[in-house]
Every structure is written in C-alpha cells, then in structure tokens.
Amino acid sequence: MTDILDAKVLDANIAFPPQPKPRAQPQSRRRFAWPKGVSILVAGAALLALILVLLALFAPALAPFEPDQQKLLARLRPPIGFERANPAHWFGTDQLGRDLLSRCLHGLRLTLALALFGTLIGLALGVSLGLVAGLFGGWADALIMGFVDIMLSLPFTLVALLVIALAGTDVAVLICVLGIAYWAHFARLVRAQVLGLRELPFVEAARAAGATRWHIATVHMIPNIVSPIVVMASLNFSNLILLESALSFLGLGVQPPTATLGSMVGQGRDYMASASWIVAVPALLIVLVSLAAMLLGDFLRDHLDVRLRER
C-alpha cells in the first residue's frame, strides 16, 4: 500500500515553475463538450463519489431505521427478493436484527468522516514538518527525517495496536491513529519539493529581497507544491478507508454498536457461510468508496503532472 502510494505521488512530481502556458483551446461548435482528459471511467468515479458523499451526508434522513435499533427476534433476515425477507429491510438485517441499509448509510458516513479527518491531520502534520525540514535544513532536517525514516520502517498496524492499547478505542484516538498513519509520506514529499524550489531564482530573489522564511514558505513554496500534495491526499484518503476497515475488522477500530463499514465486515465475518449479505453489502461499499477515491486520485495525478500532460 505504501509503495504504491509513494510511486504514484513521486510520478506526480511537478516541474518548475508550476504554471505552464495555457494552450489555446479550440472553439467548440457544440454546446456541450466532453471535458478533455476525462475518461468515462473517471466521470463514473466522480459520479459514484458524489453519490456516496451525498448518501453519507444525508444518512440520518435517508436511513429508514436508527442504525443501532435491534429487533432480536428478526435477526439474519436476507435482503428483499430472497426467502424469509422482510420488505421493511431492503438489504436484510444483521446478527442483532438491525437494518443493514441504515447501518451501511451511517457506517459510510463515519468511515468517510474518519478518512477525511485522518487525511487532514496527516496533511497538516506532514506538510508543516516537511516545510520545516526543507527550509531550515541542519539538525531540524536531520531530526524530522530521522522520525520519517523510523515511521516508514515500522509496520503501521503494530504502531496502531500500540497506540490503541495505550490510549483506548475512542473515536478521537482512532482519528489520531489514522492521522499519523501517512504524515511521513507527506513530510518526505514536501521536503523533496522544497529542496528543489529553494534553489530556484524566484525563491533566491525573495530571499535576497529580505523575505522571511515564513513569507517564503507561505507565499512562494506552498502554492507551488499544492498539486502533488492534493494528489497524495486523494490517494491517502482511499488508503485510510482501507486502514480503518482493517483496524475495525481486527476489533481495534470504532467500538460496537457504532457502525463503520470495516467493523460491519469484521463483526459479520462469522456469518459469511450462513448470512453472507451481512458482510457482502458493507464490503461492496468499501470497494466502491476506495475505487472511486483511487480513480479520482489517479486522474488528479495525470491531470496535474505537467510531464504527463505534455506527452
């Protein structure tokens, strides 16, 4: 997972200066032109992502039942269309008679929120430390990159286990765990970009004009490294969805009865042979969410990479 993420983002290294000349766009005679570079696959992914986000946002209104509401004597009812199905439960019920559709909608909401917050924390932490390492150099660089190397050499599941064992399984803890999962990737990327930018004439000019490091970082550096960061964040998002699912599957994520897609798969795994819908529906949603995020991430990388665009 890490290697793929690194490889994709390193592919997306941006050539400097970052503003290529806009090409002259031929005037279209049609009223609607299919956006250039957007394949049907990407458009489908964007549509899928939009639908999933809307479902998550409006889960409380869309869900026909409360996600934790149990009907103990109506457990393990299959989705509609199957024998013994209850028409009130489109996707069937789970091992405690809870409506699977409602749990999926709320689970999707929490899973996306966790991945989003995790990405933002990783982004903030990684970008700040990467900037400091790149701009200051010296012992600050050595210290931060030392931490980065340690972080990248550790299997993250073990780190997560340790943190959760020490700090508990609260949602806030889980967000922090997800937040620290990929900060090192951000830091390494940003540092590499800053080292490249640092030697360019416009930065040297700013320095010669007496600009402070803060000014250089915020005005000259960050706007120039936004593209690879956005690409990495999008890929990071899908990886965090999978990581959250893996942790919840192992029972280390959000605690029951609260649903996330991963915990639904984890707790339903014993029913794969006898009531496969309990696992199949949330697992399919995990696949769809991470697929959409991956495809959009790939698109952003292709779109923002100057070298790829010029080929």
Partner: protein, 522 residues
C-alpha cells in the same frame, strides 16, 4: 496371467485402502477456539484448560460421566470411608504409573494436595481459598492408605476428591524440574505447567502454549486403554476457520459453534452436530465496591431490565436454559429451580432507577470480543435493553480481564460448575472467600458470612437447602451477579465420529477416553 495380475493389484489396492482407513482412525484431530497458555490441573479453573485435563490426569474419586447426578466410582482411590465428620480415609490403587514411568505412590497423592492446601505458590493459594478452603491436612497412613482431615465437618468429601484441582501429579518429577530436586519450588510448578505429566490414558507429548496440544496413548494406563494412538488439538480461533477446517476434513471435531451456524454444518451430508446445555452460566457481574455501583437498587434495576428469555430465543433459538436462580440440575437434591432470584420486570427496573437517583451516568460494560459464544451479541443486546429503561451504557470491548479493576462497573463472565454442589459453582465465585471477594468486586457482610457457613458446612441437607435459599434472597436484594442462561454448546464433527459432551462432566471437557468416542475408518 493378466487375470492374476489384476486380482493381485485389486487385492493390494483394497488392503492399502483398509490399512489407510485403519490408520486414519488411529488419530483424532480437533480444532478448538482457545488453547490454554499452560496446563496444570491444580492451579487452573479456566473454561479453556478444563477441556484438556481429563484425558491425561486422574482424580482420587471418579464419577459416572454419563449421568448428571453424582455417581461416584473408583479412581486413583479404589475405596474410601469417612471415618468422622472431619476425616476420610482412602485406599490408593496399586500398580499405577505416571506417563514418565515413575510408579504412583501415596507420597504423590499427599504431594498433589499438599501443594495446594499448604501452598507456597500464589496460584495454588487462590485455589485453596476458592475450592479447598476446608482441607487442613493430607497424610499417608501406610503405603496404601491416605487420610484427609478437614477443619470443619465436611459434607462434600467425595465431591471435592473428584475435582480437577485434586488430580494427581508426580512429586519426584515436579520437584526435579528446576533447582533443588528435593524441594518443590515455584519454578518447578511453572515448569510443570509447560511439561505436564499425569496418570491418565493419554500422555501429553507436545504442548505449544496457546496453540497446540498432542496426546498419545499411554500403554501403561491402569484402566481401559485409550481408543486413539494420537489426538491432536489445534487452536483455530476464528469460527470461519474452524468451519472450513471441518468441511475440508482437516479436523474431525470442532468446538464452540454458535446456534445460528448449526445449519451450515447440518446441511453437509458428511457432518453432524452434537451439543448440550452446559453446566455453566453466562453471567453479568457488577462491581459492588465501585462507588458508582454501590446502590443495590441500581444493580437490581439493571438485573430486572434484562429480558433473558428474548436473549435465549434470539441468540440461542431457545436451546439455552434461562435459570430462575443460581442452580443446576446436577446439584441433585440441592437443585432449587423453585426460587425466583432473577426476574425480568422493566417497569420495576424504571421505578428502582428512580429510587436509586440514577442521573444518567454511563455504565461501562466490559466484554471480550469472542471468548464467550454469543458474548458480544448479548452485550450489545443488553446495552439496548438497559437503554430501554433509561440507562446509558458504554460498551468496552477488551481482551483484558477487568474483573479486578476498581473502575470496573459491569461486565460479562461465566460461572461454571466446578463440582456438582452450589458450593462448586455459586460458592467458588461468591463465597465470602471466593473469587469475586478475592478480586475486590464483592464483599460479604456478617449476615451473609454466617448464612454461608451454615450452608457450606451443615451436614443436614434440609438446613443446607434453607440456607442456600436465604443466600439467594440476599443476592436478589443486593445483586452482584445475574445469570443470563445456561448456554447450549455445540460441537461440529464428521458423521463417522461418535462423540458427544457428557452431562456428568464439568463444562467443556473433551473426553476421549475408552467408551466415550469412536471414529469409523471410513
């Protein structure tokens, strides 16, 4: 010529098939959910360890495992006689040898009990306190006779000499394991727990803590020889893993099948299911010593709010047994289902909460994820039931044992029947010196202690019954525990395997002795 060749080839093929079949039937492979971290019958009281001791160890007095009621049989002792209310004398079987070849003597019997009742090793001290508190002295009268003396008149001598904790271990072997070979040191007991040796029909030839146990037939066994040359017990923690292993014929028998998975096995023509209501309660316990849980009315309310009948119908398809009191059919004359210690009454629960002044603080309910069959599901259902009467519950899924934590408020647990008497189930856990008192979540007052003494040591059965009913009333008024149900534990196995759990055993015993199991070659 060709005919002869064909006949010879056919005969050879048939012979090979028969031999292979015979060889297969010489080994039994078992997939269990949990494997013990160590094996010592004297210090163990876990549901995990209790699966394994009966095949490799013997108690002084045996018991008919086919019958729920107590029918005592000769074991390591061939006969016994209670010579006074506080003393019993037993004749020890001659010619018995341990798996390492050492002859078993009265010295080994004395040592086996002495290591617990005069313990220098803390784990044994705990067992002395909860299981053998009345045993004062075990001595050899002569080369064939042992005398056991109790502090107070003992109505349960035979019962106590049948318990797992009283199984016989080899003195010389244990003492020689580490350090001074003439002194039993704690390190000897630790070493023994990893290389256990007993007198039973199977010897333990391989033990990988938490993973694997291999028994092999012990040809020097004093009784009927074991039916299998080898029994391999492998831990397969995931239910889906155990089911797959059984379906793929990697194992012959698997444990811990929840009722809602039984159809998966039953639908396979090559497999079948056996099960029974295990003499054990899944319980909810309360930490009466946690200031937040100190009000008995709060705990009463929590008990009244749990609809155990619905839990049984939903999670166990009605196959479990919801008890009216802390009592098992195995108790014989002391089985008292007529008591109404535990009831469901949500209206009463709401009223009691109001009286208790419950202000909506969250009750932390601790549970392990997979230790008890249906444990996590029951915990979530209880959370919902408590929510229905206005109690906020914070579910805490943890693999740690939190029963001794001062901050523990409520959690799930089990109360197994360690021996067939209320003292051997309720007593082990809730006696004034029992496990719960030792761990600080329960404290008996003077009235409770006095009634307990009467129940435990009276030799008059009617008086014992009356005292136990009184104890149950005290538990009802100030509840530290709520038994949910006697689970229906199911085992999946090949159709060719004839085995079932037996009602005369303590819970979870995997009894592979002669007459208890057969596996057809095909």
């Amino acid at each position: 010529m060709l005919k002869t060749l064909l006949k010879t080839a056919l005969a050879a093929a048939l012979a090979t098939t028969a031999l292979t079949g015979l060889a297969a039937a010489q080994e039994l492979k078992v997939g269990v959910q949990n494997m013990a971290p160590w094996l010592d019958p004297g210090r163990d009281f876990s549901n995990v360890g209790s699966q394994f001791y009966f095949n490799a160890f013997d108690p002084l007095i045996g018991k008919d495992a086919n019958r729920a009621e107590s029918v005592w049989q000769p074991g390591i002792a061939t006969s016994w006689k209670q010579v006074s209310p506080t003393q019993i004398e037993l004749k020890i079987r001659q010619g018995v040898t341990f798996h390492n070849g050492d002859p078993m003597t009265v010295e080994d019997v004395v040592f086996s009990f002495d290591r617990i009742i005069n313990s220098t090793f803390p784990p044994y001290t705990v067992r002395k306190r909860d299981t053998l508190p009345n045993m004062a002295k075990v001595e050899a009268v002569d080369g064939e006779t042992v005398r056991i003396t109790a502090t107070k008149p003992e109505p349960l001598f035979e019962t106590l000499l049948n318990v797992q904790q009283g199984m016989i271990v080899p003195k010389k072997y244990v003492m020689a394991l580490t350090g001074d070979p003439n002194v039993a040191e704690p390190s000897d007991f630790e070493a023994f727990a990893l290389k256990p040796v007993g007198t039973g029909p199977y010897k333990i030839t391989e033990f990988v803590p938490n993973q694997k146990l291999v028994y092999e037939r012990y040809d020097g066994f004093w009784g009927e020889k074991a039916p299998f040359q080898k029994v391999t017990v492998q831990r397969i923690p995931e239910l889906s893993g155990r089911l797959t292993a059984l379906k793929n014929a990697e194992v012959d028998l698997i444990t811990n099948i929840p009722p809602d998975q039984l159809d998966t096995i039953a639908s396979d023509a090559k497999l079948k299911v056996e099960g029974m209501q295990t003499p054990l309660f899944h319980v909810v316990i309360f930490n009466t010593q946690n200031p937040k849980m100190a009000n008995p009315k709060l705990r009463q309310a929590l008990s009244y709010a749990i609809d155990r009948k619905t839990l049984n119908e939903a999670l166990w398809f009605g196959k479990a047994k919801v008890p009216t009191s802390h009592t098992f059919a195995q108790f014989g004359p002391l089985y008292m289902p007529e008591l109404d210690t535990f009831e469901y009454d949500p209206a009463k629960a709401k009223a009691l909460l109001k009286e208790a002044g419950y202000d909506g603080f969250p009750i932390r309910f601790d549970t392990q994820a997979a230790y008890y069959t249906n444990g996590l599901l029951a915990a979530q259902a209880i959370q919902e039931m408590w929510g229905a009467v206005g109690v906020k519950t914070q579910l805490n899924v943890t693999e740690q044992w939190t029963g001794s934590e001062p901050a523990m408020m409520a959690r799930n647990w089990s109360n197994p029947m360690y021996f067939p008497d209320p003292a051997g189930s309720f007593g082990i856990m809730w006696a004034p010196t029992g496990n719960s008192a030792s761990e600080g979540r329960f404290k008996a007052d003077e009235a409770y202690i006095a009634l307990w003494e009467k129940f435990r040591y009276s030799t008059d059965l009617a008086e014992r019954k009356q005292a136990y009913a009184g104890l149950m009333q005290m538990i009802k008024n100030d509840p530290p525990v709520l038994p949910l149900y006697q689970p229906y534990e199911s085992y999946g196995m090949k159709r060719s395997l004839a085995w079932r759990p037996l009602p005369g055993h303590i819970p979870y015993v995997l009894d592979f002795r002669a007459g208890r199991v057969t596996l057809a070659a095909r």
